[in-house]
Symmetry: C2
Subunit: 204 residues, 2 copies
DNA sequence: GGAACAACTAAACAGTGTTTAGTACATTTG
DNA sequence: CAAATGTACTAAACACTGTTTAGTTGTTCC
């Protein structure tokens, strides 16, 4: 019965074709400028076809977000081999920042835009986000146990680190750092991350 | 010649009427759901009239943002009387957080949304943001001079504090804290701010 | 009273996300 | 093999969006 398998494969390929075209257009032109019609044009199908593979535009962009999280989580895994928790936290922060700078549009989709999250209310619907957060959470737990860091609990520590990183990126991506000369941005942001990781450590 | 004055006053009143209607609709239904037509309906004028007072939707929402910044800056002024810089920074942070929680839609407009900023490229076009940042900058400068805080320079300190506050609010407002139980959010966020202000101080 | 000007609007334009009804082809069945 | 079923796709429409144009109405000025 190879025939149904072939159909399934073709279906998956078509889904991927749409996803890839949408992702490319989104990265180069943004969300608003990526209309269902422009995606359809790019893959040379009619707009209605896209609705045979995705419920609506939101679901399509949620799928793009999921793929982006896969990349981020894959990058995260590269720091797992670092034994010392503080070094691992430093490395994780760097991977996170690098991802944001390499793919600002995708970062936007994952952590800033409302659109892909509008119908996500429960944690189960955002498994990818959960996994990424757990990565940080475990590092903080280990750091607390090793008395390297002085947070009341792991959630507080993880939230503090994450919100600092996110705040820097979000203000930058959304153009709110106009009051700081542009040539200072990069240096200042990486200095801010460094100093934050210094500050949270317990002084000996 | 009171006649031209009356006309000017009427023009300003009409502008304010549009602004207020748009602001109300935006706060209760969001940006997308606040169309030029719904604003026009609310004030019982035709959609085209709105374009006699604002170049486009973006300019209209930029004006709403400006008004929101006026409120924030007014709130900021209430901490000026606090002499001790660290206490003043703590108070400023609280005012900032309280504003964000009281007016999440406006906070979004001021610090997250791309729309009102799309045609703002130079600092001069964002005077309000500049003023708000300076408020924090001066406190950090004073704290550094008094050796209460150990940042290399004031810009680094201000960016660190602001991005942390913004990160917490932005992740919360845009629904990215799903991995943390909702009942913990408020406590955790205020604990995070407190601990940050503790950490940046020089230990004696 | 007639000209100039201002405020306002109806209607249209080009775009959006999405749905419906129907076509054309591949597969399965009698 | 021919007819029936099922699947993939699309043209066209619907109800919306921001914005512009041309034209109407009413006020102000000489």
């Amino acid at each position: 019965m190879g025939i149904t398998e072939r159909k399934e494969r073709e279906k998956a390929e078509m889904r991927d074709l749409i996803l890839q075209a949408a992702s490319d257009l989104f990265v180069e032109r943004g969300y608003e400028q990526t209309s269902i019609r422009t995606i359809a044009d790019k893959i040379e199908y009619s707009p209605a076809t896209i609705y045979l593979y995705f419920k609506d535009k939101q679901e399509l962009f949620h799928a793009i977000m999921d793929k982006a999280f896969e990349v981020l989580l894959h990058n995260f895994k590269s720091v797992e081999k670092i034994a010392e928790p503080i070094s691992r936290m430093r490395a994780l922060s760097e991977v996170y920042m690098k991802f944001a700078y390499a793919h600002p549009a995708l970062y936007d989709l994952m952590f800033i835009m409302t659109k892909p999250m509008d119908h996500v209310e429960h944690a189960e619907d955002w498994d990818c986000g959960f996994q990424a957060f757990n990565f940080l959470l475990e590092i903080v737990e280990e750091s607390i146990e090793a008395k390297l860091v002085n947070f009341k609990n792991a959630h507080l520590g993880a939230l503090t680190v994450w919100s600092h990183l996110h705040g820097l990126i979000a203000l930058h991506i959304r153009g709110r750092l106009l009051m700081i000369p542009e040539e200072m941005h990069e240096v200042l942001i990486s200095e801010s991350v460094d100093s934050m990781i210094e500050l949270i450590q317990i002084k000996k």
